[in-house]
Amino acid sequence: MRIVCPFCGERELGEFTCLGDAKPVRPAAGASEDEVFDYVYLRDNIAGEMSEHWYHGGGCRAWLKITRNTLTHEICSVEPAAGAGARQAAR
């Protein structure tokens, strides 16, 4: 697999680590046990296009949000995490 890092360009799979589904959003402070349980444990486990968190740990150390097809491994889009780099947050 090759991933086009928005900062580094196209790189080899080995430079990246996949964390998993990017759809669940960490509940805000004060959330119930049920809500946090859902966030931590339940997955859609999509067969098809899925949004994921990947880490370019072997490169620029940016966290990326990647949309990838789990049936074909085709990568549809790559975008930086909200806090990757300073410019993102400056907007």
Binding site: L13, E33, W63
Partner: protein, 993 residues
Amino acid sequence: MISSQPHRLASGGLIDRSAPLNFRFDGKTFAGFEGDTLASALIANGVKLVGRSFKYHRPRGILTSGSEEPNALVELRTGARREPNTKATTAELYDGLEAASQNRWPSLRHDLMAVNQLFAPIFVAGFYYKTFMWPAKFWEAVYEPAIRRAAGLGRAAGIADPDHYDKAWAHCDVLIAGSGPAGLAAALAAGRSGARVILCEEDFALGGRLLADGGTIDGMPAAEWISRTLAELATLPDVRIMTRATLFGVYDGGTYGAIERVNDHLPSPPEHQVRQRLWRIVAKRSIVAAGAIERPIVFAGNDTPGVMMASAMRTYVARYAATPAKRIALFTNNEDGWRTVETALGAGLQIAAVVDARPDVSAAHRALAAKAGFPVLNGSVSGVDGGKDGVRKISVALAGGARAEVEADGLAVSGGWNPAVGLTSYHRGRPKWQDDISAFVPDGAPPGMVAAGAANGAFGLGACLRQGFAAGAAAAQSAGRDGNRGTPSVADDEAFSLAPLWHVAGKGKAFVDYQHDVTAADIELAQREGFESVEHLKRYTTLGMATDQGKTSNVAGLAIMAAVSGKSIPGTGTTIYRPPYVPVAIGAFAGHHRDENFHATRLTPSHHWAAEQGAVFVDTGLWKRAQWYPRAGEKDWLESVTREVKAVRGGVGFCDVSTLGKIDVHGPDAGAFLDRVYINTFSNLAVGKARYGLMLREDGMVYDDGTTSRLAEDHYFLTTTTAKAGPVMQHLEFCRQVLFPELDVQLTSVSDQWAQFSIAGPSARELLKQIVDESEDLSNEGFPFMGAREVSLRGGIKARLFRISFSGEMAFEISVPARYGDALVRNLMLAGKQFGVTPYGTEALGVMRIEKGHVAGPELNGTTTAADLSLGKMMSTKKDFIGRVMAGREALVAPDRQVVVGIKPTDRARRLRSGAHIIPKGETPGPDNDQGYVTSVCFSPTLDQWIGLALVERGRERIGEIVHAHDPLRGENYDVELCNPVFYDPDGGRQRG
């Protein structure tokens, strides 16, 4: 000259007659030429019997001239370099080559295992599923060892491979597999366009089938066209041609695997060179011009040595000037088979007959037959008379029902051609059936890939050139290369007509999969028993699972299945195609990463100093750490470690702790950030102070711990455990970039920037005073417990000093820029001489932390909560932090959880071992009273007995209770007392003092 090579033509071929080579096969010496394969050289020497089959040990000869060979497998080379199952058809001849036949005993000609043929009526497909069940114990003792010995093919060396391998990356616009007319045309078109091109050819010579079949291209002989083409390609700077390189797989994102046999054509690799190199090729586009594979026809006796694929027969004659037979019969169902007749006649060989399954043989062929004086029989070969010395006679079932016999010493067979659809199908694609050639052709391919030429079902030379050129041009264009690509080469298209014929019914074993001895009858049996799905067929009969991956057998097998189950061939379908396209040495996939180079090694700044001291090192992750420093006269590790501990507790010692993960946390929101990742609070930590912190995973379990110091208002220095340094950095970056992007905080690993040493013991301060600048106040008031600040060292170096203790002693950790780490230890030794300063290793470090009751790796095992480790009170209730909510789940706060306690044996002389389980005293151990286990143990020099930590159900409520430590693995069972885990200085006076 060893022998006269009686089956070598007097002239012709692409061998170098000026470079004679000697080689040995089964102990006998033969001669050949450079440019030979082992197979062609054996043929030139008249050797027909080269191997034995897998199950029946039937005698086998050479069937093909390429990597699809199922029969001619040998053990190549000897000793540690012995390579089992090497295809004689692709092994390049070199001087001194040694090869041996395999899977026979005691010899190839007299193989006693051929007795299996007597049991052939029983040894049908899947027979073993129906027997060998009684008595049950006999499987491992009797049946299986016998089966295992009989099965298998060649013998692996059994000792370490002495050769080296490496792996490399290559990048291109257009990757081409195959150097036949389609491949070369594609390379020309792409290369002229300005594309970066890589062409991989598995053979050592370029040209593909042109090397044997010749032809006329652009009005010149094929050989001349090849050399002109190669000359032009050589002028293009970004065209790279790799011979002896097989493209074996296609992976996601346009990544391809190729194996280059760099030095397999030599007896052994030259010094500093590898045997083979694994290539990872990244290509924008790829063109599969890998050709097609001629397929056999299944008939009785079709495995007799001397029966050979028609294309292979003419390859041996034309390319190698070696004659597999003098009087050749051809059995074909298609036009292409006749080329062998032409080649053989051209070489002065005799044609015994042509058996053509098609009713309508062309007038030109009939004229040829009449001229050369051989009969053309309309029908099929139904039997072969012969044996291990080859073919003597063939039986022919004529179309009209009559029978005929033909005397011949070789039978060339052509059942048509199967495009090499492997590469195009490796992403689980299924090829489609093409009626006019009765073969599967690619139906789509992985992204960026196309097939061209014979691999795409286009068998004519002209078509190959056209398709190859067009594919090369299109690939270059889509990669953005638009140079002038000139005009394509032209050639005529040969006529191709074929009458499908898969299986000739008849008496005797008719082989589909030669190597695995799968017969037509086996396929019929499989169908009868319900194994109709092609995948079931494959698994039940082992069809296509041999080292040739079914290249010659799969299509015939499923055609026969289609026939017996009354379905069409496409309706029957194919099995999934799986990489690699040819078997690849495991050593090549490993490359450089073996032995000491399996993984990288990290060395601490004091490593070489410690090595000078004779330290024993231990692997901790990738690190080498000093485990202890033995001294002359010490009888074992325990004595050394005990000395080190006593030296620290009684004076002062130091230990390299640079392996801890170290992270600079910068920014105005650094404190707020740390509050969210630690269970305790850091935003209120004063500048110049350190604090112990604990992190949870989001599921509420303890993740990591360490000391974090505040060096400035907006700068914290965080440490992690050695093991978790990398994962914690990733986790913190996730928190920073994904979870809390609103915080202004920056993270940098400074693990390698600082050489960090723990200096511990009652004399630690005195020792440090020798090192730091006189102006630095190290008194308890000036530098209290948990203090952290920059200090100046004598000689002008700046250091960071932390008053933290893992040992329970008065202790500091000092950090200097890493290049000064070596100097620091030497200076500490110098300055500490008067205090008897003692370097200590990880063992003594571990002993002191257990004495002090500090939890570490064995307790932070990913299934313990903060409360389990008696750190529950650190969990702030005033803020949100990672893991807070899930840590509250009922089973994680249950009162009967296993929690950390200390243990000591009731018999003070008793040694403890980690991994023993805790059982209530007086009870018989069982799953219901298994209440915990021992996590960490040591001999405590301070207490003069073994002590340990354990995770024990309700342990904290049971301090003082005597329980059993149960260790059946090591045959030990003894009493221990549950106690406070802090064995040493429980009120902490020493570390504060």
